[in-house]
Symmetry: C2
């Protein structure tokens, strides 16, 4: 049925049928200014050309223009730009209202309800090139992309840059991290006036003066470069495609489509997170059966490396030493964690780390790691090892070994592999088509291709991928469900050695920016609240628990050391209980960078879980429990900040664990300490 | 002597001699933190590396840090970046105090007094690459460049980007135009907080909160791409090299040097203009005799095209029609203008304008232009035609005809050619090494090469170049003196058809931004104050006169139509009198974007000229005349705004012309109307 609906849509919007479709859709006011509204009529997009034939679009919400007429087009490295001298040749519109299921996720069922407008622009002189721009307008946002048909004067597009503008009509606040070659998106967020943003990565979240929240991002980044958003002047932004080593940032033969340029529009911050346009603008699952992956938690050999007490290589001692790994397997088995991540297990770490990875072997264990014995030991305990493929920034080298590496992982009972792309060389190393060395950006076209090659090979071996230092997330988990999670933000490791450590507001920033793109393997749960050399983490203990609800990922680590958890067993219970797969998700409240409260319902169960995190301020918030099933009783197992808890003092460890009986008719006051949080399991009473 | 001093400097700073030089210079505090101060000791530069081996420099002025430690380095498309893991291998310092003469210019004699520090950085691992960074510290600013020696692991540098940072320690105001592929720098200036600049072209001028003025720019852009300045966050900027069609933005074999990164430092706006570091950081004249060029004024077939009453091609009628050109020759001869610019004289305009120029012929007159007859007619009248080579944005096509075009110009008595690079294709069209089409930026490496090829060919034919829609000016007129002027900013033509027209503050912005780079052929003097369709120009008549003093160019147009000058003969007298070559220049006062007053002394004469322009505010300023020769009497011929003059009304034409006798002991009150100006000739009394 789903397939049938999609086929119907495809038919409705097919370009050759444009004239027919035109007749079947509501007449528009002016053939030169096509418009399309959201199903609820609140958002509308208008398309036109100006006196110089520049294609322009604008966006209104509630009758108020949000995006002033903004240009569309391309620069090429080998041809005149497509930006002026266009006329609108045809238009077509259609509607979709369908639902689909995530195999795992924040919500089980996703509704996709939108109206679509396709506009064909044709150059009125010279080359007579055409480009289609397709707009999909949802009740909570807009996506649009370019579709460049096959045509005589554009056989291969060598795109120097995409010239898509976003001219906001109001100033306001913005939350952003810089577009940068360095650091793989691992920044804390800037909060500035919109009119002070320089070059920003996406998602870029803004709150206009009138209160409208907008998150700019992209969807379905396939065989194309990711984009940054460059403020041009005032509150006008434009796309800046992320570079490639070749002359063009993107090289594609026609026909092809670009990623969707997206903007979620909402009255408030929670509405940003509740939007599904990112997933809806991706294609359905193209892999088929992905039942080999089960959402689950894991522990592993990781935090001790970041603390510096063990190494990825042999110094000061190998974290992946067989005996040490057994210790983690024992801990996982005892506490019900299905996975044990092992980093530093393979050949190469003593020579290749931060040295471009060319010596890493993905099927050859280091001398200290007995792969056969550990695979058997884990299996016997009902646990599996999560593999680790650190490329050291050399994806070409990794691709050479890709099948061997995945085969090795599968042969050792692994169904999840964590990949990594750390390099201090700046860009990723790639061997070019003629054997020449090339350097590619983490978010460039080559990287977009590479990650999909990895996913397809992993799928062949029934393996899911958790990519670190990855390309940005653009919702491709819908199409490639085995891309279960990734990093792509400043994670817990910065609380080991970061200068500075993650600020208390970090996660409240992330929820409304980075997390709009998709899951993140943040690795929460460091209940010791202690980084390298005994330095304090800027969090309370309860907040570490809340992060399991706040930061969605279908693979979720309990990142601390077993010996540390042994000292925090009461709190650890929440980590043991909390699911990693959800039937439903509600954002109960929130302000970007200040605080947020999530309620999520366990998939395949009756329990709800609540997580709230704040910033450096103490905060008290009342939440209604009307998300609970009406008339049903729940035991609220509450893990909250102690009354004197404070991230700035040793009282960061003050945690109160208490139980209350509640129903959907109740409300609850959540008190967050400075740097604090609260985690609650609402256990359905039988 | 000059040559001898330079040779001595070269010897002192030669890298192989670094160890020796070290001994001969003053001992520095710390071998790992070399420092160098300006001759007056006020400015100092410190160089160091951080814990990750990042090369850093910082700049202080008066003991206060102005530029916080800022990174240096490169990204490559084919190799690991050069940005970390460096140590300082050696350093050397030297001093220069010399003077040299401009063949024409704002000042006859230029003093070059600076201290130099050369630091060699070497990678401590992997490739062991080295780079030298050379700092020259003047009393009024700092320049530094990279010098990449020949070395085994860097034979050819494929530069993806230059990673030079400028981390300002204070916020303040900034005046900037955007870095953009479009519009060839033809913008009005933005005035925003420094912390709100996005991607800026250079010169970028800022005024820090403590009053320090800084202009960031570059010098000696040879065989390299120009740079934009991207604000990264807060008040930190970095270089973003302007793209090339090829993969790398710059491709250079080692050894090579980059352009100088420059910052003029001043207590006030006038001090920015008075700096000579832009010229001093360029190499001396390498062309030899350039006596074929004489600074001079010109009239020509130009404004009527912008008004739309004549065409470059045959519609509505050719401006370059023989009879019309004769009219201009007659006018020039009658009023003493040596040059007559003729646009639209050659084959191609009817088909090639805004169509990439591939049909332009630079040695074939259009049917309406009798080249032989007009050359003879002009010569007979003691006038010469200024040639015009509009490439339509196809420099490759132009290069194919370059020698023929210059030979044609020379054969027709032309000693100045105005070139042009207008295109609506976005970038310049270039035929690549294998015949493939490529698109290059106006400020990219190819353009830098192209302009020098044009200059060298022009010099062979004893022709000077006035480049429009050019690469940015970086002081190369010192090395290639026949590059006499250029455009590269929003000129007078915007007052014909611009939407909007140039604002009253435009020129007060330009003086302290664009004009710091070098001369501009702005084409002032539209005394009719009337654009296309009778629309008003936002200027008073007196201001049009003042621009001849304010905006330096050794070729200076009287841009209005002869029939318009006939109605303004009294004011026109100033245009006839004002020189285009100066012995000395003083900036008497000024604030960026608000107002400025220049006094310039005629080269080879006794007269001084004063020009002051303001913004939309009326303004009264007292200036001392102590620039005049002491004890000497002058007749001040004053062209000032009428008492009720106002750019917003028909009173923009109100001008008062009066004479006074003055001496150096006098002061004078300058009253500027809204949108106004004042022009004064101080004629030495015999």
């Amino acid at each position: 049925m789903l397939r049938g609906l999609w086929a119907l849509c495809a038919l409705l919007v097919a370009v050759p049928a444009a004239a027919q479709v035109e007749q079947s859709t509501t007449a528009r006011a002016d053939a030169n200014a096509p418009t399309i509204a959201s199903p609820d009529g609140r958002i509308s997009v208008s398309v036109t050309t100006d006196g110089d034939g520049r294609p322009l679009y604008s966006v209104s919400r509630g009758g108020k223009q949000i995006i002033a007429p903004s240009a569309l087009g391309f620069l090429f490295t080998d041809a005149a730009k497509m930006q002026r001298n266009f006329r609108i040749e045809s238009k077509a519109s259609s509607s979709v209202d369908t639902s689909w299921e995530q195999p795992w996720g924040e919500w089980k069922t996703i509704r996709d309800r939108h109206n679509e407008l396709r506009v064909r622009f044709k150059e009125s002189k010279d080359l007579g090139r055409v480009m289609d721009v397709v707009f999909r307008v949802f009740d909570d946002g807009v996506g649009f992309r370019y579709e460049l048909p096959e045509q005589p004067n554009l056989k291969t597009a060598h795109i120097a840059d995409e010239m898509t503008e976003f001219a906001l009509t109001q100033d306001g606040e913005a939350w952003w991290i810089p577009g940068s070659e360095w650091n793989r998106d691992e920044y804390q967020w800037n909060r500035t006036p919109i009119s002070s943003v320089p070059l920003a990565h996406t998602p870029l979240t803004v709150k206009l003066k009138d209160g409208t929240h907008i998150a700019f991002h992209e969807a379905a980044l396939v065989d194309y470069s990711g984009t940054w958003l460059q403020r041009v002047e005032g509150t006008k932004f434009k796309t800046v495609l992320i570079p490639s080593a070749g002359g063009a940032k993107v090289v594609r033969g026609t026909p092809f489509v670009t990623p969707w340029r997206t903007m979620i529009l909402s009255d408030d911050a929670p509405g940003l997170y509740m939007s599904h346009i990112e997933l809806n603008l991706n294609e359905p699952n193209k892999l088929g059966d992905v039942s080999y992956f089960k959402p689950s938690k894991y522990v592993g050999v990781w935090w001790e490396m970041h603390l510096g007490t063990a190494g990825w290589g042999s110094t000061p001692k190998p974290g992946a030493a067989t005996a040490n790994v057994k210790r983690y397997i024992d801990f996982a088995a005892k506490h019900g964690f299905p996975g044990v991540l092992v980093e530093g297990w393979n050949v190469g770490w003593d020579t290749e780390w931060f040295a471009n990875g060319k010596g890493f072997q993905f099927d050859t264990p280091a001398p200290w790691f007995d792969a056969e014995a550990l695979a058997a030991y884990a299996k016997n305990k009902g646990v599996q090892i999560i593999g680790h493929h650190e490329t050291g920034g050399s994806p070409s080298h990794y691709e050479d070994q890709l099948e061997r590496g995945m085969a090795f992982a599968a042969a050792h009972g692994e169904s999840v592999v964590k990949t990594g792309y750390v390099t201090d060389a700046g860009q990723l190393e790639r061997v070019g088509p003629n054997g020449e060395p090339l350097r590619e950006w983490h978010d460039g076209q080559f990287s977009a291709q590479h990650h999909l090659r990895v996913l397809e090979m992993a799928h062949k071996y029934r393996i899911a991928i958790d990519a670190h230092e990855p390309i940005k997330d653009t919702g491709l988990r819908r199409t490639y469900p085995n891309w279960v999670s990734r990093e792509g933000a400043r994670g817990q490791e910065y609380n080991a050695w970061g200068e500075p450590k993650n600020a208390p507001e970090h996660e409240a920033n992330m929820v409304f920016t980075r997390m709009l793109a998709g899951p993140m393997d943040f690795t929460p749960g460091v209940l010791s609240l202690t980084g390298k050399g005994g330095t304090p983490i800027l969090s309370t203990e309860a907040k570490q628990l809340a992060l399991y609800v706040v930061l969605y990922s279908p693979v979720q680590m309990a990142a601390d050391l077993p010996e540390n958890y042994a000292k925090h067993m009461a709190a650890f219970q929440f980590i043991k209980d909390v699911p990693t797969d959800w039937e439903d998700t509600r954002v109960l409240n929130g302000e970007v960078g200040d605080y947020v409260t999530f309620a999520r319902k366990q998939r395949g169960g009756q329990d709800w879980y609540l997580g709230a995190v704040g910033d450096e301020q103490a905060r008290s918030m009342e939440v209604k429990l009307d998300f609970l099933a009406p008339g049903k009783a729940y035991e609220a197992q509450i893990y909250r900040d102690g009354d004197d808890a404070d991230y700035r003092t040793e009282k960061r460890h003050a945690i109160m664990i208490e139980k209350r009986r509640v129903t959907a008719a109740d409300a609850m006051t959540l008190r967050l300490a400075p740097g604090g949080g609260v985690a609650i399991r609402f256990k359905a009473v039988k």
